[in-house]
């Protein structure tokens, strides 16, 4: 064992930090450091800037247009990116459908979708869940029928993150109604195809990132199928393992913990700094300890990424505790803001930057909206109940 950081990783961190410092436009930073939902225009602009540097796909191999970075380098990049207030890169394209396309799709599909995606030109929406198919995803009923050289798609998808920004959708659809998992396929659909309707779902933080999508006999060419027919389930699952080391969202937890400390230093209780309140300081220390544990587990998982002999369900462990930590930090943000933790600070207008905020410190806007939205992190991506079942069944053999 050797617990020292590789000096090469430390100089890599410096390189990333100084690049982001110079390249991140101030207006993008200003909007994204506040934890409102990222706007597509910002993500696109930032992707373009990173693309010029060759960095728009930190987790992809060089041969596919990525950076070829080690898992540790990817993690460092994520940390620096998030700490600087840059928008997150689009996870759907980067971590899900892009790799599925270059692994199971055709070279033509890679040229058509992944290459423009790296330039920031394509934004994906993931259409997996349905009203009746959430945790039990394999029971989904959206149907794709083959008619000549076309697929005809009819159904109802729910909870599509950033569906309103998407120009392309990747759908998990039923192509064989006689099978469950083995009757599903992955099909790519233009968001503006006739018969597609995308409508907003507003979350309890009053933000818009979610959508529902209706497909009414939508026709796409046969070549929009990814990989083989009825293998969609395998493709949908194949990346989960590769991404497991990132499940605790350490970069977000670190930035939000730093914000909590800042609020605790500035907030007063009975006129004295909150951070000097013994009980509050002890709770802060508890969170810091939780964060340390998750960070070291993440470092271990990064080091062992791709090692299939290591079967600890580390992704599930990191997901459960990482999401709980996000929620606890958010709760304490709101608590430490005191009276102003109850005030609604509406999201500014994107085009003009205009906002109607009640009085409060500069860091207050966005805190409540983010706290409320983050109730979802223990629900999506396999709920925490499902993760615990995975730990108990698959690892403990219960």
């Amino acid at each position: 064992m050797d617990f020292d950081f590789d000096p090469a990783d430390e100089s890599f961190r410096e390189e990333v930090r100084s690049f982001i410092h110079d390249a991140l436009p101030a207006d993008i930073r200003e909007r994204n450091v506040r934890n409102y939902h990222a706007n597509r225009a910002d993500t696109r602009r930032w992707t373009t800037i990173l693309h010029e540097r060759g960095w728009s796909a930190p987790s992809w191999p060089v041969a596919k247009g990525g950076t070829g970075w080690t898992p540790m380098q990817q993690f460092i990049f994520d940390e620096e990116n998030f700490a600087a207030g840059a928008p997150l890169l689009e996870t759907g394209g980067l971590k899900m459908i892009g790799p599925v396309i270059y692994t199971f799709g055709t070279p033509a599909q890679h040229e058509r979708f992944n290459v423009p995606f790296l330039r920031g030109e394509i934004s994906w929406g993931q259409g997996f869940s349905e009203p009746g198919a959430g945790s039990d995803l394999a029971s989904l009923t959206t149907r794709a029928e083959r008619q000549g050289d076309e697929w005809v798609i009819t159904g109802h998808k729910m909870w599509t993150t950033n569906g309103h920004y998407a120009n392309w959708l990747y759908l998990l659809v039923r192509t064989d109604p006689t099978q469950k998992q083995r009757g599903l396929s992955l099909i790519l659909v233009p968001a503006d195809a006739p018969g597609v309707t995308i409508s907003p779902i507003i979350d309890i933080g009053e933000g818009h990132s979610l959508n529902e999508m209706f497909f009414d006999e939508v026709r796409v060419p046969a070549e929009n199928l990814v990989g083989e027919e009825n293998k969609g389930w395998t493709y949908a699952k194949f990346l989960l393992d590769r991404e497991r080391a990132f499940s605790a969202e350490i970069p977000r937890n670190k930035r939000n913990f730093a914000l909590l400390k800042q609020i605790a230093r500035e907030a007063r209780r009975g006129g004295r700094p909150l951070i000097e309140d013994g009980a509050f300081a002890a709770r802060l220390a508890q969170l810091e300890s939780d964060l340390d544990g998750l960070t070291w587990m993440t470092l271990r998982a990064l080091a062992r990424q791709g090692d299939s002999s290591w079967d600890l369900p580390v992704g599930s462990i990191l997901k459960v505790r990482g999401t709980e930590l996000q929620q606890t930090i958010g709760e304490m943000h709101v608590e430490a803001l005191g009276d102003r933790g109850a005030y609604v600070y509406p999201e500014p207008d994107f085009a003009t930057g205009e906002h109607h905020w009640p009085p409060g410190p500069d860091y207050a806007p966005g805190v409540l909206a983010d706290f409320l939205y983050r109730r979802a992190v223990s629900i999506y991506g396999g709920s925490n109940e499902i993760q615990r079942t995975i730990i108990a069944r698959q690892y403990l053999g219960l």
């Binding site: 507003i202 979350d203 006129g271 909150l274 629900i379």
Partner: protein, 378 residues
């Protein structure tokens, strides 16, 4: 001891419950908070007509002389309906502050007018740097030729946009955290030097920050005696804290049963999700926290008439339990719903928002634990 409601109390509970069920369904509430500004005068008229506003007022001030138990019955039912009109800020917090301050003259009239709905005073006491500490007041009142001049800022004055009067606390002597030297003044909308900044809150109710810039207040508008308002403020906060616990219990109760019903109908993996033992145990824990909260509410209600140290210990103990329970019940009600739970269109997230606000109102868990240990040390 008797933990049963008497006949009149059952009738009261029924009447509030009927109001919530018939006139305050979720769609009506949604319209009210989106288009109606979060206050419907017709609702307030109902509160007055049915005697709810007068119930907690002393008989000598035109009230019905009921106890806090009656108010708790009302608030529990209002909590179930997520009623946004400022019943607690006016009929409990402001009313108790006035009653405990020993009012005469104009202020006595304001107190009496609460019952009829003619007056809606709110207490403008909290300040940003207080964070629950009742004795912390930096707003200053300086004596002038014909009265007082007030300067300072009050935050989260719930119900202020609809108020007819503001009961403003200000320091007439002493250090910022000194219980001695706090005085109460009667102000009104439109008073010179008083600016109101209205704010929408997380649970869709409305509040204001009130900024006082050398606001002139005539000497006759000092409520009670100079420098001695702390006891009245503490008594009013004990009442309001206890009764917001009652409201939380109503909100938790409703959120729990909505979730229970959802678990019986939502199907995944070919069966109702309520079949999964992990979720059954979660619901069992929610019920345990709810019922412990109810038990603590009884303890706080029993202590409201006791000496301040005894009273405040019991109130803090209840608020600690309610905070813990609100977190679990509110958060897990969303969790057990899955994605639908985090949508603005669906009701359950609104219980979570209200419960989060209640947890942070009148001192959060950390504040009340601290106060309990201070009181225990005496």
């Amino acid at each position: 001891m008797d933990f049963e409601l008497n006949h009149e109390q059952v009738l009261l509970q029924d009447s509030v419950r009927r109001f919530v069920e018939k006139q305050y369904d979720f769609d009506t509430r949604r319209k009210l908070v989106r288009e109606g500004g979060g206050f419907d005068p017709k609702h307030w008229a109902v509160f007055a007509e049915l005697g709810w506003l007068a119930i907690g007022l002393p008989e000598k001030h035109g009230g019905l002389g009921g106890s806090a138990v009656e108010l708790a019955i009302i608030l529990e039912e209002l909590g179930k309906g997520l009623v946004v009109e400022p019943f607690l800020p006016v009929a409990v917090l402001a009313a108790q502050a006035l009653a405990a301050a020993g009012v005469t003259g104009e202020a006595a009239q304001v107190l009496a007018d609460i019952g009829t709905g003619a007056a809606r005073p709110v207490l403008a006491h909290g300040e940003i740097d207080a964070l629950g500490e009742i004795a912390f007041v930096e707003t200053a009142a300086v004596r002038g030729a014909s009265g007082w001049s007030l300067t300072g800022r009050k935050s989260l004055v719930v119900g202020a946009p609809f108020a007819t009067h503001y009961l403003v606390s200000a320091r007439t002597s002493g250090a910022p955290d000194d219980p001695q030297g706090i005085s109460l003044f009667l102000l009104q909308p439109g008073d010179a030097g008083l600016e109101r900044i209205d704010v929408r809150l997380s649970d869709s109710s409305r509040a204001s920050e009130i900024v006082l810039s050398a606001a002139e207040v005539p000497a006759a508008r000092l409520i009670g005696t100079e420098g001695n308002a702390f006891a009245a403020l503490a008594a009013a906060h004990a009442h309001a804290t206890t009764l917001i616990c009652a409201e939380a219990i109503g909100a938790m109760d409703k959120a729990l049963w909505i979730t229970r019903d959802y678990l019986k109908t939502r199907q995944q993996f070919g069966q109702p999700i309520g079949n999964f033992q992990a979720l059954q145990h979660r619901m069992a824990d929610m019920l345990i926290e709810l019922e412990l909260s109810r038990a603590q509410l009884f303890g706080a209600l029993a202590a409201l008439g006791s000496a301040p140290a005894v009273r405040d210990r019991a109130v803090s103990s209840a608020k600690v339990q309610i905070g813990k329970a609100a977190r679990l019940v509110g958060g897990q009600a969303i969790q057990l719903h899955g994605g639908i739970g985090i949508t603005e269109e669906y009701v359950i997230g609104h219980y979570f928002k209200r419960l989060t606000m209640i947890n942070n109102a009148f001192g959060n868990v950390g504040y009340h634990l601290d106060r309990m240990s201070r009181l225990a040390a005496v």
